[in-house]
């Protein structure tokens, strides 16, 4: 597997290059009970190759934030800038891994992975080579001809990862992607994500409500307030990877975050 990892061209990040800028973003929805503010003046920046976790309780607007960055919904006010250009709609430079599986059920694993390549000007041979490379990368080379319904939850999320990584997005947006997996698969997926991140040096925005998940993965954790959603605290996690959950520094950070979530 290692040889395949090396085969993927790395992006050479300039240190401290800013990829994503969220600028005074606000969003609310009109409901039967009146106007409901969801996000209130959120601002933060993401640097190239950074893995940021957005941690908050359910209903704090973290998924809404991700949908705005993805371009699925428009911001109420404020803006989202990708490489200083405003985000106007969904596109392959910002790919989303959804919480529930959003694979095309009528396509095999291999066809799902190459779906985004159709219509691009690359040869069939190249497409097949790319498919095999990314199948290997997520450890599913045996399962190329399976249909999604024949896969476990963890395997489906691997396919979801592969089908967007193949498009080489600028930013990977992950919306509680491992939330519905059992504890073992979740840990496996976290490890897989970290190894892929190390190899491909993607920029990742990872939304979660799980404190330990945030601390295991992230360089930086944005703790979100609820009603309305805004950033309460920014926590830098300066622990070496792989991070051990029994480590006292790990425990300190997660305790602090848990306390923050409870307020």
């Amino acid at each position: 597997m290692n040889s395949h990892l090396k085969a993927v061209p790395r992006k050479q990040p300039h240190p401290k290059e800013r990829v994503l800028r969220i600028d005074r973003l606000s969003k609310g929805f009109h409901t039967a009970a009146g106007y409901l503010p969801v996000l209130d003046g959120m601002s933060f920046q993401v640097e190239q190759g950074e893995l940021i976790a957005i941690l908050g309780r359910s209903g704090c607007g973290k998924s809404t934030l991700l949908k705005i960055v993805a371009g699925f919904i428009s911001p109420g006010s404020g803006k989202v800038l990708l490489n200083e250009r405003p985000v106007l709609g969904p596109g392959p430079d910002r790919c989303v891994i959804f919480q529930e599986d959003a694979l095309f059920p009528w396509l095999t694993v291999g066809e799902n992975i190459t779906f985004g390549l159709k219509g691009k000007k690359i040869s069939k041979k190249q497409k097949t080579a790319e498919m095999h490379r990314f199948l290997n990368l997520v450890g599913l080379s045996e399962f190329r001809d399976y249909l999604p319904r024949e896969l476990s939850g963890g395997m489906k999320q691997r396919v979801a990862l592969a089908r967007v990584l193949i498009l080489r997005p600028e930013v990977l947006l992950m919306d509680e992607p491992f939330g519905s997996l059992d504890a073992q698969s979740r840990e496996e997926m976290q490890n897989l994500l970290l190894s892929l991140w190390k190899e491909l040096s993607h920029t990742i925005l990872f939304v979660t409500h799980d404190v330990n998940e945030a601390v295991v993965l992230a360089d930086r954790i944005l703790l979100m307030d609820k009603n309305p959603g805004r950033i309460r605290e920014e926590v830098w996690v300066d622990l070496p990877r792989p991070r051990k959950r029994e480590n006292s520094a790990f425990l300190n950070i997660s305790k602090r975050l848990s306390r923050g979530l409870r307020i």
Binding site: A70, G71, F72, G89, P90, G91, P92, R94, C95, V96, F98, E100, A102, F104, P105, W106, L107, T108, F115, G116, K118, G119, R144, D145, Y146, L147, R149, E150, R163, V164, L167
Partner: protein, 268 residues
């Protein structure tokens, strides 16, 4: 490389679809052989088989219905084919649009639901006045009847496609036109298929209605003709022929869809 997705049938599974027809024929045999049903109400299965044979293959001395099967079935197939294709050509795109676009849905709702309530037979007198006896009237009736199941199921199918799939397509850079063919239609396939099958089934029903009005060929015409002449055996043969052709066309429709579309092959 891939395990079979569907549950495999047991070795006796092939017989199950034929169990009820076999039972039915045995019962038929019993009531005619014992004389519970006199022959002028229901002829013996052997007599029916003979009439059917003559109808299909003809016989040297001719006879009223001898060997007419090919021209009748051909005429009926053509009418059903034209009417059903017309219904699909109009109903499927309109249905998919109504399932996705609220103004199409609003625009169509009153008309479709009002017309749907009108029984097909009500159109017959009007169609006769407009199109005369024969081909055009039958095609009109078939197309009108098949339109509603095709349209309604396409609308329901297009409306219930998982929005995540469309979002996933959008983020992977899929434009609207390709999204329609690569995501929307496959995602709605089980509904589209149900609509097509229902539409084709009802096409056969309205074919007979259209052919009852005095055309000289077609399966419905044969049945009507046989009624006038009191040929009960020929009526029964006509019914069986329509049942067999209807079932076969449904099979062919499914096989054709499976052959052409991955989504039909792998999801239904």
């Amino acid at each position: 490389m891939r395990p079979e997705g569907r549950r495999t049938e047991s070795s006796t599974g092939w017989f199950l679809p034929w169990a009820i027809p076999c039972l039915f024929i045995s019962l038929w045999w019993a009531v005619t052989a014992t004389g519970v049903m006199p022959a002028y109400l229901l002829p013996h299965p052997i007599d029916i088989a003979e009439t059917g044979y003559v109808y299909i293959f003809g016989k040297p001395e001719g006879g009223l219905y001898g060997g007419r099967f090919v021209s009748d079935a051909g005429a009926s197939l053509l009418r059903v084919g034209c009417g059903f294709s017309l219904a699909v050509a109009v109903g499927l795109p309109l249905g998919v649009l109504s399932g996705r676009l609220w103004f199409m849905r609003k625009l169509m709702s009153t008309s479709v639901n009002a017309l749907r309530a009108v029984p097909g037979i009500t159109w017959l007198p009007l169609a006769l006045v407009w199109f005369g006896i024969g081909m055009k009237t039958t095609i009109f009736l078939v197309a009108l009847a098949a339109f509603f199941p095709v349209y309604l199921n396409a609308a329901a199918g297009a409306g219930q496609v998982n929005p995540r799939l469309l979002q996933a397509g959008a983020m992977m850079g899929v434009r609207r036109l390709r999204g329609t063919f690569a995501i929307l239609l496959p995602g709605a396939m089980s509904h589209l298929m149900a609509g097509l099958r229902l539409g084709l089934g009802i096409s056969w029903a309205y074919l007979v209605l259209g052919e009852l009005t005095g055309v000289h060929n077609g399966l419905g015409a044969v049945i009507m003709d046989a009624r006038m002449l009191g040929r009960i055996d020929m009526i029964v043969v006509g019914i069986i022929v329509i049942a067999v052709i209807g079932r076969t066309s449904d099979h062919l429709l499914q096989a054709g869809m499976r052959c052409c579309f991955k989504s039909a092959r792998r999801m239904i």
